[in-house]
């Protein structure tokens, strides 16, 4: 069974949030500390998903908070504070990833399915031995999934995180990554296929 502990779950009431925002806008020191202590853990969890080291995740959280402090006056209140901070954290993580990109990314071609000239599959593979719920009941499955996601090149890993984990829509992801919605769709599909192949190596029964 999947129990999604959603980021947007509120632990702060709307009244608390309104008072906090007013105090932040007034520059009250206690409000900034409250914001950091209340939302920091959630922002760190998001940053850890995107970044490959703890140090980078910390940098992202700090950058995100400084952005939030700077722009608290422009927070319109159309969404919860937690959603706004989530978006800022994702943006900060993407900027950090962009700044770290030096080398050409590795290919995922060998993780995609192969077909013959008639378009029929060349390698038939068995179904996985257990259902998703059975797999999720074992702690090692989570480790396998996280490691497999982390092995994907950043372009593919990022689109899976944005679409399948953070559940942003295609248009939003396209805008964040500066690519067309078509590129997002193609990249997501290829990323899922590559991830499926990596998981299959662990989860399919031995032949």
């Amino acid at each position: 069974m999947c129990h999604v502990s959603c980021w947007r779950t509120t632990i702060v009431t709307v009244a608390d949030e309104t008072a906090l925002i007013s105090a932040l806008r007034a520059g009250e020191d206690w409000a900034f500390e409250t914001l950091v202590r209340t939302y920091g853990g959630r922002m760190l969890a998001v940053a850890r998903r995107y970044m490959r080291t703890e140090e980078d995740a910390h940098d992202v959280v700090q950058d995100a908070f400084l952005q939030a402090f700077r722009h608290i006056h422009s927070f319109q209140g159309h969404s919860r504070l937690s959603s706004w901070l989530h978006r800022i954290t994702v943006n900060a993580a993407l900027m950090k990833l962009r700044s770290q990109r030096h080398d050409a990314e590795s290919s995922i071609e060998d993780l995609l399915p192969v077909f013959n000239e008639e378009g029929h599959r060349l390698q038939a593979r068995p179904a996985w031995a257990e259902t998703s719920d059975e797999l999720l009941a074992r702690a090692e499955t989570r480790e396998i999934v996280l490691e497999s996601i982390n092995r994907l090149p950043d372009d593919y890993r990022t689109v899976i995180l944005l679409r399948d984990i953070d559940e942003l829509d295609t248009q939003e992801v396209a805008s964040l990554l500066g690519v067309s919605p078509g590129v997002v769709k193609t990249r997501l599909h290829r990323a899922r296929q590559a991830l499926r192949t990596q998981l299959e190596r662990h989860l399919a029964p031995e032949e």
């Binding site: 999947c2 999604v4 900034f32 853990g41 700077r70 077909f115 008639e118 038939a124 989570r142 998981l199």
Partner: protein, 79 residues
């Protein structure tokens, strides 16, 4: 009838119900006849589900006190 490559190429659209009725019918016919593609479809859906559950199924970490202090100090500096 569609072939395996065409089905895989449009798998996301198929799963998201974004295909026209006629096109969808050709993919349905292919899936009826092709156990390999049925398995692929099933494991593709399992991949998305496992990915989502594994990533969300974590306790929220506490923010290290040193990071809290660093953030507040950086705010004071930039104010």
């Amino acid at each position: 009838m569609a072939n395996c490559r065409e089905l895989i190429e449009f798998l996301d659209d198929y799963l998201s119900n974004r295909l026209d009725g006629d096109v969808r019918a050709t993919f349905d016919a292919h899936l009826d006849a092709c156990p390999d593609c049925r398995t692929y479809l099933q494991t593709y859906q399992q991949t998305i589900h496992l990915c989502r559950c594994s990533m969300h199924d974590t306790k929220l970490p506490p923010l290290p006190e040193s990071l809290v202090q660093a953030i507040l100090a950086a705010r004071s500096k930039s104010a």
